[in-house]
């Protein structure tokens, strides 16, 4: 196999060829500054404006000026939370979940040190939010609620629409981290009724280094960077024009291809998942089977360790990812799996496969053909597996 079978699309995606073509002129002859008072730069501004409309349409925003271009998804997440806190100076409470991306969790941990109160809403064994606790936690002191649309590790979709309606009635700002939803399921900011929403270009076949934050008209919000008038002063700094053109084109394409995710990609994901779960007694699904983005499957393998699985897969040309401690450089398994209470026998053995519209049936065939050799070899090496009886050995901990 010469070509890598790339099943790590929740980490990053390939730039779509159309996106690259659209960007290239802005890295070559059309290098003008959109703010300039001459046609050479000013004409670039028109393309930036078009990209803004493309992104607005992608997420159902009514007005193009509700889109603020940023550097990354992380920056958008930070800006949403810090920007809300900067406006609501008297409110000292933040609500988020235990399974958010580090872009939100690490910031919240830092804010706790600064004296803010943070509620981390727990999830159940299937990765679903404790909605009762979330709603109970909202009080007059709550400055912002930040919840992800879909989880990056399990693909589980949260009921952001229900949260949005609830918070709207109480006048509490709502930020949705939609980085892992964008391009996989339709996003409509008016159906969700969120005030702020984050997306990142490279997760839906756009370039890296460009994100966007949707800021609903009338949302109370202060910038976190100060400088020029760009992005109406909400995110100053000369625009990353090639990136903006890239995310705009990627957004338009992603909207066109949403149906592929609901059909073709979902079918391939299910075939991969069913194939693996059926083949290995020691495997189980992590995350609610019925409420997931169509491209992600997270499979827990008991008695074997995730990094070893990834290394063996890599050797056979397959790129996937793991929530195991070893693969991340930390010593504990992923915070998402721990929050879900995944059993200790498989907490270190989770493998995430994330597909894209560029994934092929042949790719899935290859993975299904390779998996038995990998899993059975590692089970043979494991002290916790009885190869003769084909079952786990009793474990004393």
């Amino acid at each position: 196999m010469d070509k890598t079978v790339y099943l790590d699309n929740n980490a990053t995606t390939m730039i779509a060829p159309e996106v690259l073509d659209a960007m290239l002129p802005f890295m070559k002859e059309r290098y003008g500054n959109p703010s300039s008072m001459h046609g050479f730069g000013g004409s670039v501004g028109k393309d930036v404006a078009r990209a803004r409309i493309q992104v607005a349409e992608f997420i159902g925003a009514e007005n193009d000026y509700e889109i603020v271009f940023t550097g990354t998804g992380t920056e958008s997440d930070n800006m949403a939370i810090l920007g809300s806190l900067a406006y609501y100076r008297n409110r000292r409470h933040i609500i988020t979940s235990r399974v958010e991306h580090p872009a939100v969790i690490s910031l919240c941990k830092k804010l706790e040190k600064d004296g803010y109160r943070v509620t981390y809403v727990p999830v159940d064994r299937d990765g679903n939010l404790d909605m009762g606790l979330l709603k109970e936690s909202v009080d007059d002191d709550t400055a912002v609620v930040s919840i992800m649309y879909a989880n990056n590790e399990t693909g589980v979709i949260f009921p952001v629409g229900e949260i949005g309606v609830f918070l709207k009635e109480r006048g509490v700002p709502f930020h949705v981290d939609a980085v892992q939803a964008a391009g996989k399921i339709p996003i409509d900011v008016n159906a969700i009724q969120c005030d702020l929403l984050t997306i990142s270009g490279h997760k839906f076949h756009g370039p890296k280094g460009i994100g966007a934050l949707y800021v609903r008209r009338g949302t109370r919000f202060r910038p976190i960077l100060y400088g020029g008038h760009q992005e109406k002063g909400r995110r100053p700094g000369t625009e990353n024009v090639p990136g903006i053109i890239g995310i705009g084109t990627a957004a338009e394409l992603a909207k066109m291809h949403l149906r592929d995710y609901d059909t073709k990609v979902r079918m391939m994901r299910n075939r991969l998942e069913d194939g693996i779960l059926g083949a290995f007694k020691n495997s189980h699904l992590n995350g609610d089977k019925t409420r997931r983005v169509p491209n992600t499957t997270n499979i827990g393998f008991e008695y074997i360790e995730g990094e070893a699985v990834l290394l063996y897969l890599d050797e056979r040309g397959i790129a996937a990812s793991s929530g195991s401690a070893c693969s991340s450089g930390s010593l504990e398994p992923s915070h998402v799996l721990r929050a879900m209470g995944v059993p200790f026998t498989s907490a270190h053995g989770s493998i995430r496969f994330s597909l894209s519209r560029f994934t092929t049936d042949k790719d899935i065939d290859h993975v299904l053909a390779v998996m038995p050799g990998v899993v059975n070899r590692l089970l043979d090496i494991s002290p916790y597996w009885d190869s003769e009886k084909q079952q786990g050995r009793p474990i004393n901990i």
């Binding site: 706790e112 040190k113 004296g115 008695y303 074997i304 360790e305 995730g306 990094e307 070893a308 290394l311 063996y312 050797e315 195991s324 401690a325 070893c326 693969s327 450089g329 930390s330 010593l331 504990e332 398994p333 200790f344 026998t345 907490a347 270190h348 043979d380 090496i381 494991s382 002290p383 916790y384 474990i395 901990i397």
Partner: protein, 281 residues
Amino acid sequence: MWDYTDKVKELYMNPKNVGKIDNANAVAEVGSIVCGDALKLYLKIDDKNIIRDAKFETFGCGSAIASSSALTEMIIGKTVEEAEKITNKDIADYLGGLPEEKMHCSVMGNEALEKALAHWRGEKITDHVDTEGEIICHCFGVTENLIRNVIRENNLKTVEDVTNYTKAGGACGSCIPKIEDILNEMAGEVQKAEAKKGEKKPLTNIKRMLLVEETIANVIRPMLQKDGGDIELIDIAGKEVHVGLRGHCAGCVVSDVTLKNLVEAKLREFVEEDIVVHEVK
């Protein structure tokens, strides 16, 4: 992606001596599935004290598998006496080196070897507490003796090093002060004297205020917050620090103990020896 050597890659893809020995006369198991890696080592030692065969079963990442394989390859044919001299560093060297964060895999190999040889000698193996001293890191079950051995053999200097080599301190972090104590103690008197010299310099007001604020934010507040309490810095006048206790601490019957034994003690430890703390109610 880890930067593994070709030798590590070769050995995790094609490990040697995988399996068990049915009539082994030395067996040891270290690590656990909860911690993310475990190694079971089987040895067959003959009556001339030569290790005739060694096999392993490992749960863990690539470098854990490679370290286990390396260990068995290194000890087969050696006498018990020779094998005893092998350190975790020898295992890492055999592999052409391991990433710092993965050094604990080589330590696990060495630990299994020591434990297996003790088993063969007939030493009673109960648990860590009896044989290897107090458990320092409860998250990963790491004992004081193991930490001391690894510091000595690898000339470790920082808590981060100790975590890389033993995992201790890598989860909840509550044992980090204990690891620091061990490191300080083992660093010897020289360093202590040097540290003393550094402390002698009188602090300026500004420097003192900054240090007080930092210590409250990074050390004291996190400790209080664990019990639902909090602290507010109200004023600093010379060496007199005025604070308000908040949250659970505010109504706590032992708040004066907290004030002296925690707030003042920590400020004295990290800022200056003669800081006095007052509570503003």
